[in-house]
Amino acid sequence: MVNRLSTIQEQNTKIEQLIRDKALKLLKEDEVDAIIGYSSGTIPFKTCPIIIRSEEDVDKLIWNNFCAMNLAKYLVPLIPTLKDEEGKNLRVGIIAKGCVGRALIHLAAEKQLDLKKIKMIGIPCNGIINRSQLLRELQQEEILEASISDDEIILKGRNFQKKFPIKEYLNELCKKCEVKSPPKIPDLVEACVGECQEISAIEQDFEDVSEFESKTSEERWEYIKELLSPCIRCYACREACPMCYCSLCFVDQKLPRWFGKTTELSETIVFHLVRAMHLAGRCVACGACSSVCPMGIDLHLITRKLEQIVKERFDFTSGLDPQIAPPMHQFKMEDKQEFILEEE
């Protein structure tokens, strides 16, 4: 177990070692053909997802608080590179922070993934840094180097050096995260390598959501409008989302054209809100959608609201057990229907 009392920098070193040890073992013992992980980025705040295939490349795998992407995404679409010559799926190992593990489990619950072919290298994630927030605080200063020292992030520019406490600059969803290591898959313990945890339910308050809800509907509408107005419809949020795996997204449907594709605010809002609806009971709160947004749009409140509704209505948390059908995949007689029918 990684010592919880150590500094974030020390935790990162230990997590990185855990990743390399497990990856090396899996490749050496021919348990997997490839491993998906993070490698060093070429610019500050960034890491680069990498697929390694040989023992020599194990040292390219890293861990730090910039590992924002949800690697489960690389297992969803038909990646030709993850197939052998005959087109058969490779046996893949994947570095799994809590939300990557949850995504894999949820994808298995939706029958999109065969977990038997996967080795989940579980790691106890210590949170992802909110790049947009820091860039905004530094305004137009260029950051040449971002590094982690003890519990601080150190940013260096041409004429400055600034320190920020990491804990205060994590993604909002990371601050609320209750599943830091991936859940142990009940009937498939052999797929869980590294640090995974037994977890069957999460109890959490949704104070952050209730604060937003206490606002008037006009205020909430203003918030949504301001939040989404910078959107350029590049769909980085959708493409980074492990749950957005439709071969044809509703917004790309042309015959009939259901939704507008322009950057007119009404059309942008419709895209984001309909996408949110599609993620109810499916979103694993990884925050990748916000981390990848080039315009710095932070969708966390929408995510949290979805989580809350699903928890309160269906007592369900996504990505904990591949055997439990998600609420939108099943119908129960006791499901509340007051939004369709008036209850007697």
Binding site: T42, C48, M69, P80, P230, I232, E239, T263, M295
Partner: protein, 351 residues
């Protein structure tokens, strides 16, 4: 024309004078991002910026643009042209790389038999007043692409930031005409000019990336089926952030918005990108670029192979936006360096 001096405190006066006859665009901050927008208050102009998030191409090639509106009157259809085409624009504060992108875009839009007159007319009505980059970003590599942080040839008026003031030089006739309207600019001294020269040199030295583009262009001619495309597209997630933030990407889709009740409609163009699944999807259902491999390849080849062979130009200006905002950190500089490492012997010539 003699070089002039514009004090930073005179920007307001400069703006007030020019906005009488021009739509005055400049860099402002909007929701934490620098974008080029029509200036309503000169205080909003951000002068100490590196570069905008969205490139200034958006001024004349906006993400959503009405090509024309129409009205059905019995059997006749009346077409209404957009009104703003003949309006005169100034883009103030544009960087040399982005100014060069206007030249690349012009070559594309006026190419061949069917000139895109909407774009070319707007371009003709637009004057570029640019500023040299005293401090290029870490991700900048314009010097590898024939550019320079102080390249002034693509602008109409070129400014150099001397701290409290700008050194002003008209480059084109259009620029000279504008400067003639502003009588109160003082003359630059010898030391101002020397300082500008020094800044230019320092800026050039700050660019640390060096890529042999000519080599890449020649390698790309022959490697359409090389395994490198599989390698470089491996971690791409298929979003459009590289293309939508690119100053030279210009692909668009055309949609009709109909208003049946009023017998009216609009034809609109919106940005599109070869990174999207729908981009080359054919009516038959066949998609010649079915995966990320072909899509990533197209983006690179369009800039570094098709542009050189069609227009004898390079389709990239080295602004580094795609490098800064790629979710997967799929760094264009690394891609180009990998391409340059392809061994001549390995080349896979397309049959």
């Amino acid at each position: 024309m003699k070089k002039k001096i514009l004090l930073k405190e005179q920007i307001k006066k400069f703006y007030e004078k020019l906005r009488e006859n021009y739509n005055f665009y400049g860099p402002i901050e909007e929701n934490g991002n620098i974008v080029f927008s029509k200036i309503l208050d000169p205080e909003d102009i951000i002068l100490n910026y590196y570069n905008s998030k969205i490139p200034p191409k958006s001024v004349i090639l906006p993400q959503k643009e009405i090509l024309f509106e129409y009205e059905k009157k019995g059997d006749e259809i009346e077409i209404e042209e957009p009104e703003n085409i003949e309006e005169k624009n100034i883009i103030f504060g544009i960087r040399p790389c982005d100014a060069h992108s206007f030249y690349l875009l012009k070559n594309f839009f006026e190419y061949g038999e069917y000139e895109d007159t909407l774009f070319t007319r707007k371009r003709k009505n637009t004057t570029l007043i640019g500023i040299g980059c005293n401090t290029p970003r870490q991700t900048c590599f314009c010097t590898s692409l024939g550019g320079h942080p102080f390249k002034k040839e693509d602008m109409d008026i070129f400014l150099v930031d001397l701290g409290e003031k700008y050194l002003v030089k008209s480059i084109s006739k259009k620029g000279e005409e504008i400067l003639n309207q502003i009588s109160w600019l003082s003359d630059a001294t010898k030391s101002d000019i020397q300082k500008a020269e020094k800044l230019s040199k320092t800026a050039e030295e700050l660019i640390s990336t060096e890529i042999d583009i000519e080599k890449a262009i020649s390698i790309l001619k022959n490697n359409f089926n090389h395994p490198i495309w599989k390698e470089i597209s491996e971690n791409c997630i298929g979003c459009g952030s590289c293309a939508f933030l690119c100053p030279t990407c210009h692909c668009f889709d055309v949609i009709d918005e109909e208003d049946h009740y009023n017998n009216r409609g609009k034809r609109i163009r919106i940005w599109d990108t070869c990174q999207f699944t729908l981009y080359t999807l054919e009516t038959s259902g066949h998609n010649p670029r079915p995966s990320k491999i072909e899509r990533c390849r197209n983006r690179i080849l369009h800039k570094f192979s098709y542009y050189p062979s069609n227009y004898d130009l390079i389709g990239c200006v080295g602004c580094g936006r795609c490098i800064n905002w790629c979710p997967a950190n799929n760094d264009l500089r690394i891609i180009l360096k990998k391409i340059n490492k392809i061994d001549k012997k390995e080349e896979s010539i397309v049959a």
